[in-house]
Symmetry: C2
Subunit: 274 residues, 2 copies
């Protein structure tokens, strides 16, 4: 099996890229020219996808940005899914999890109804809250481990009685829950040293690494610390650093050119390592 994981690794090798483009598409931040369109978010996403598809391995749809606009926003999410290049991985950044019978419904939503290849989930409620996601053997499940934000100090980094920080307890459990290499973890790029420590502890897991760019993490650090020993097994997400280039744009083509420039620079940095 290992379908989703093999797809990721094959793409990383063939494109010499670990780039995951985050579609955190926000009406108030996108260039004005899109706002005059009939469906601004969809057209914005179409432009982002067109400009990034030669370099992207995955696209991450942050569900919050779509839910904020209710049914209209979720229709944009649904229609955006049809625009993604079929060879790339689609990730629902949803951070869901609940008791078993409820998580089964979330898994159904993201893996069946919307047919994403991967989803992010939150570990707090433990194994039975994540099992319904892991039961889809051809999908990838990224469990929050050590996140890139300040609040990670509040609980994730608390030390347990046995000396491990909580995030290491999460990591250890996730390793036992994986089925046919369908487990992954979310580890922020803002803490490179810890990212390396987590990678050494879990050489077999797939990593989703956010936090490069707007949140302050470096791409170089993420690559050096986050890749597996075979030089694959990790996706580095960049959202705001790609989709909101500075400047004003007179046309969609101009905007796409600015995005392509950003992506090309990131890709050059990746190529030199991969």
């Amino acid at each position: 099996m290992c379908f989703a994981r093999q797809k990721v690794d094959a793409l990383i090798r063939s494109r010499k890229s670990v780039l995951c483009v985050g579609l955190d598409s926000d009406l108030s931040k996108m260039p004005e020219l899109f706002r005059a369109m009939d469906r601004p978010v969809l057209e914005f996403n179409r432009a982002v996808i067109r400009a990034t598809s030669p370099y992207a391995v995955a696209y991450k749809i942050n569900t919050a940005f779509y839910e904020a606009d209710g049914l209209g926003g979720l229709r944009d999410m649904e229609d955006t899914l049809t625009l993604l290049p079929p060879e790339t991985l689609s990730i629902a950044d949803a951070k869901r999890a609940d008791i078993g019978n409820t998580s089964r419904k979330y898994a159904q939503a993201f893996f069946e109804h919307w047919n994403f290849d991967a989803v992010t989930v939150a570990p707090y409620m433990g194994e039975d809250s994540l099992e319904p996601f892991f039961s889809y053997e051809d999908k990838l499940v990224f469990v929050l481990c050590l996140t890139s934000n300040q609040g990670s100090l509040d609980f994730e980094e608390l030390l347990l009685e046995d000396g491990r920080p909580l995030y290491m307890a999460v990591l250890d459990k996730v390793r036992t829950w994986s089925r046919n290499c369908n487990a992954g973890v979310v580890v922020g790029a803002t803490k490179t040293e810890r990212l390396g420590e987590i990678r050494r502890s879990a050489p077999e897991l797939c990593f989703l690494i956010p936090g490069v760019g707007a949140q302050g993490g470096s791409l170089e650090g993420a690559l050096q610390s986050g890749l597996d020993t075979a030089g694959a097994g990790a996706l580095v997400n960049v959202s705001r650093g790609i989709i909101y280039p500075e400047g004003s744009f007179a046309s969609v083509a101009e905007y796409e050119a600015a995005v392509a420039l950003k992506v090309h620079a990131l890709h050059e940095e990746m190529r030199s390592v991969l």
Copy 2:
């Protein structure tokens, strides 16, 4: 302020009820007669609300059950909101949370777009992931603390270096994050002793207590351990135990009568304590 909390306490006192009805509405579990209708979930919810509204203080919409059907399901959620009696509390059982700029979008979705009175959130990512929810002073924010499922042993009950279990660290933080009494915690009814301990540690917080019925918790234990010293400040959620009465039903009226019977029995038990 304390708008949402005062609303809850006033309702508890006037109705002598702490009942939160969970709308975990599942096509495969509802009586067959609804399945032949044009919008089964909406009509099912309409019947549940009609039969329970004399006794319910709150309705909890479990977002997973609606997302599982995509846009159609979310349209059912949206239309169900219009059926809720305005004097009751509407709770989005969504268990969201993400980095700050993303949580702001989730808060916008549930508190502005759908205008819920309350939401459930997951604590793993810490303060800045929950702050956007707490910033709505007239809404209630229920943070997962100690849940009713088996998986709560995996992380929630782990002992920290300082001797506290993780859920007590969450509780202590939530108490400092509350603004104008808008904080609450989710504590399962399946662990009555711990529920009492948590209540003694946080006399001022609003409690959302799931786990009565299908999950094995007792109503009596939830009431004795979960209420505040003034005999209010807690909501006890029952979902499957109310909305799926045994038997087959020839008409909506028959189904409603069976639901009303269930709810009436729960209410009698509540009345004797409140």
